[in-house]
Amino acid sequence: MKPRVAVLQFPGVNCEAESERALSSAGLAPERVPWTAPAAALEKFDAFLLPGGFSYQDRVRAGAIAARHAFVDTVRERAARGVPVLGLCNGAQVLVEAGLVPATRAGENLGAALAPNRMPGRSGYLARWVFLRVEESPCVFTQAYAPGEIVPLPMAHGEGRFVVHPSQDWSEIESTRRVPFRYDAGAEASQANQGHDRTSEPRMPFPSNPNASFGDAAGVMNARGNVLALMPHPERAQSLAQVPLDLAGAWGERRRRARLAGESLWSAGPGAGIFLSLAYALGVREAAVAR
C-alpha cells in the first residue's frame, strides 16, 4: 500500500491539484482533506502537505488564520513524532505563523516571520523563476538532491521574506542548519559568495535573492528536518515540460536538448526531487516511482 499524504485544503488555497499530481508521480497516495473535515480525519496519514494559494484570503497576514485551524494542532502533534510536513508558499506561511518552523527555542510561539518582499524600486507580489542551492542538512525533503545542487523553481508571492526580530540573531537559525534551500544564482555566484558568514542580512543581490530574505533563505525547517516551509513552488516544476525553454543553467539546457531530440518532456523536473525525497523517507522504492 502506498503511503498516504494529506493535502490540507483551507479555503482560498489553489495549488491542491498540482501538489497531488506531484505526490502521485513520486509513488505516494495523496488525499485532499477540506477544512470542514474533523481534525481526527488526519490521524490515518503518513505525511502532510500544505499547498500554496491564499488561505482565508490572506486576511490579517498570509497564513495567520489557517495557522489557528484545528488541523494545525494535529499536524503539530504528529510532526513532533517525526511525521513529515511540507508547506509550499502559502503552506510555508502557515507553518511559520504556527511556529512549526524554525522552532528555534522551546516554548516560543513564533520563531520567525515571512515579511513582505523587499525589492529595489518596487514592492508587492513577484512571480519569476529563481535558483535554489541545496544545503547539506538532515532535511527529509532534500535527500534526492546532492548538496550544492542548483534547483530552479518558480516563485510567486508577496510575503516571502524570512526574517527574525532585530533582537534575535539569525545566526541561531544558521548554526542549527535550519536552511536547507537558499536562493543562489548558480555556480559563479556561489564562488563569489564563499566565506559569507550568513549572520543576518541577505548577501545575494536582487533578483538572485528575490525578496531580501535573511540568509538568502528560500526554505526553513525545524531541528529534526521533518517540517519544511518552502516559498518557491516545486509542484510547478515537477516535470521537464514545466521548465521554460529560455531558463539559464543545466535544467534549461536539458529542456532545450529534449525538445530538439524529440524526447518526452514528462520526465522528472527540478522540483520532483522534493516529492521523491518524501517518498523515499516513507519507504517507497525507486522502482515504484513514475518518472
Binding site: 490579517v60 489557528r68 510561539n109 513564533l110 520563531g111 516571520a113 515579511a115 514592492s123 526574517v163
Partner: protein, 191 residues
Amino acid sequence: MTHVRQLVVRHRALDPTAWTALHALAQGQSDASALARADLWEFEWEGDSAVAERLVAWARTANWFANPNRDRATWRRSDADATDLESGAARMSGESGASGRGAYLVTTWRGAVRSQEHEAAATRALGLAVRVRHGQVWWLAAEGADAEHALHDAGGAERGGLLANPHSQEARVFGASLPVPAMSVHGEEEP
C-alpha cells in the same frame, strides 16, 4: 512647522478581515466582543497648513487610498477627532457596529512604514515634499473585560498574537483614543 494629517480608511460594509480575526480570537479564549480594522495613512509635511485642503482633495480623487464605492475615509488632525471605527466593527453576534469603550492597536511592517510610491505621488501632486506612512489600525472592545489587556493578548509582541507577528511587525497599543501621529519609522531608511 510640521503638519500631520491622518486618514482612516475602513470598509463601509462589515470588514471580512475583522470578522475572521474576531472569530479566530474567540477560539483562542480572547475577551474580544467587537473588532474593527482600517488602513491607516499619515501625511506629514513642513510649512504651509493650507496644503491640507489640497491634500484632502487630491487623496479623494487619486485612487491611491480609498475606493468611495467600498470604503469610508475619515480625516483626522488631532487625537480628539473621531475615527469612526467602532460604527463598522464586527461583533460576535454577527452584526456590525459597536459602541462603548475600546482600545486601539496600530501595526506596521518593520522597515516598510514609508511608501516610496505614495510619497512620490503626493509630492508631485502637492508640489512639496510629503512623507507618507502606512499601517493598519484595529479597534477592539471587550465586554466585561479590559480592552487594552485583550489587545495586548491579541496583538502584543510578548505573546506573538494574531494581529501582529513581532518578527516582522511593530505593534503599539493605545487606550481610548488614537493619537495623531500614531506611527513612527524607528530609524527607517529613506525610501
